[in-house]
């Protein structure tokens, strides 16, 4: 009789011990920080930049192509190519490139360039042959004299047809040069990362 009555007591003690252990572990554990997709969009120049008007851009550069799920781009790993990319670009402070795949057309790459007066968001359309099909500037805060040059066909068309090994144009204006540098970096990274 006495032995039988000990069983529920033992069960209660074990269960109580488990609860106490869980509490102690929880209170001792460091705070767990949660990172959301929103932060990935906003926090860094090389992080995932939102593609603001894909319908308009696709219609202009890849007419008739299907609009991809812009919230879920593919990721191209660059870690394997770090050394060669650093040699070509001078630096590489990230290991992944976000890529929007456009069926039967190519890919779209986005990045922020450090303009003279604020960030410039650049959209680069690349064909399946890894040549630039078009450029769009989706956001900037440059004054009018620079804004006009950024939107000029002579500037945007200067990159069309270029490959990763091509001679990229140079510009005296800091903001235009920053855009050119970013386009080249994107193309070089994509070229390296997409090689099997």
């Amino acid at each position: 009789m006495k032995k039988r009555s000990l069983i529920p007591v033992a069960i209660l003690v074990i269960a109580g011990g488990l609860v106490a252990k869980t509490w102690l572990q929880k209170s001792a554990a460091p705070l767990k920080l949660e990172y959301s997709t929103k932060n990935a969009f906003a926090s860094k120049g090389v992080a995932m930049i939102p593609w603001r008007d894909p319908a308009k851009d696709i219609q202009k550069i890849f007419p008739g192509a299907q609009i991809p799920d812009t919230g879920n781009p593919s990721v191209v790993a660059l870690s394997r190519h770090r050394l060669s990319l650093i040699k070509k670009l001078g630096k590489l402070d990230h290991n992944a490139l976000f890529v929007h795949k456009i069926t039967n057309k190519g890919v779209v790459l986005l990045r922020r360039a450090k303009g003279e007066n604020g960030a410039i968001e650049v959209v680069v359309f690349v064909t399946q042959a890894k040549k630039i099909a078009g450029i769009a500037i989706q956001r900037h805060r440059e004054p009018n004299n620079i804004a006009v040059k950024l939107g000029a066909p002579s500037f945007l068309n200067a990159f069309i047809g270029l490959t990763a090994e091509g001679a990229f144009p140079t510009f005296p204006e800091k903001s235009l040069q920053a855009v050119s540098d970013v386009i080249r970096a994107l193309l070089v990274e994509y070229d390296a990362g997409s090689n099997p």
Partner: protein, 369 residues
Amino acid sequence: MLTLLALGGAVAFMVCLLAFTQTYQTSLRKEFSGMGLHLMLVPLGCPYDAAAQILKGRTLDTSLPESALASARRDPAVDVAAPVFAAAIPRPSLGRTDLWIGVDEAAPKIRSWWKLKDGSFPSKPTDVLLGYEAAETELRAVGDTLYSPETKTSFTVCGILEQSGTSDDSQFFIPLKTAQTMFKQPGRITGIAIRLRDPNLIAPASARLQEIPGAQAVTMTEMIGTFLNLAGAAKALMLGVTFVALGVSGLTVFNTLVANTLERTRELGVLRAIGYSRSALFGSVTSEAVIISIAGTLLGLLLAQAAGGLIAGLVRPLMPLASPTTLVPITPQAALQSLALTVCVGLIAALLPAFRAATIHPVEALRTK
């Protein structure tokens, strides 16, 4: 087993609710006390809405004359009065809204969470202090230029704030006079954040500040009260559901004990015949109820521990200013409250079966098959 599960489910629900309420109240108080201000002077209108809009860095249609700031600073109870001029430039085609906040040298005193990551606070009319995310998004460092195309104004980045987790992270802070000129509202301010020398002076100070023409004082206590009232209404509803669940669990315990005493009628009769007192039998049944209650509580605590994350995930989007960390930490206080309540329910449920067991007649009991 089913009795334990029913009791455990009700306890889990109650523990989660109690723990969540405690965490929410604590985090809300911490959030407001961390703001370093006791009241806000806002333009006449709906005060809570106005204060909430300013705290979130949004703009108001109305504004205060700058003379209100001088009046506020003259009040003997006011330690710091920091003017705020908030203006938004929506750029829907670019998917963003620029939030420009005009502040003066009092801003760092009242915004206790401000810590400079780099540079200094604005001192020249063309200086801009950037929130952490604003600097990251615009790829700006100290000394860089930042241009506002809509107002055709150029600034030099004088400093960058550390990440604070508040709406300040995405804002541009410029000198008050510059902001007023930039948005063509000279002599106007959106609100005044006030810290008192002594928080106990809030009632008379609030009454005096209320006298400033066109201004309305909203205390942080009122703001907290509004949020807590909302949470309290939800809590009352949830507690109602919990008590129903506990009531059902109590009936289950009652049913189990009645079945037990009926099945053990002969055994109880034997115990009475060999000398067990009525009180001993009464105690035996009530002890069984207490053990069931404790076991159910422990099961409930384990369930609550497992389901806490799930519940927090469901509740977090619905609660204003919810804590970014654990929402449902199972505190010893919540566990003890649940245990006490469950044991009470168990004891009440055991009263009738225990009374029946205690009053059983040994001869009649031994006759039963």
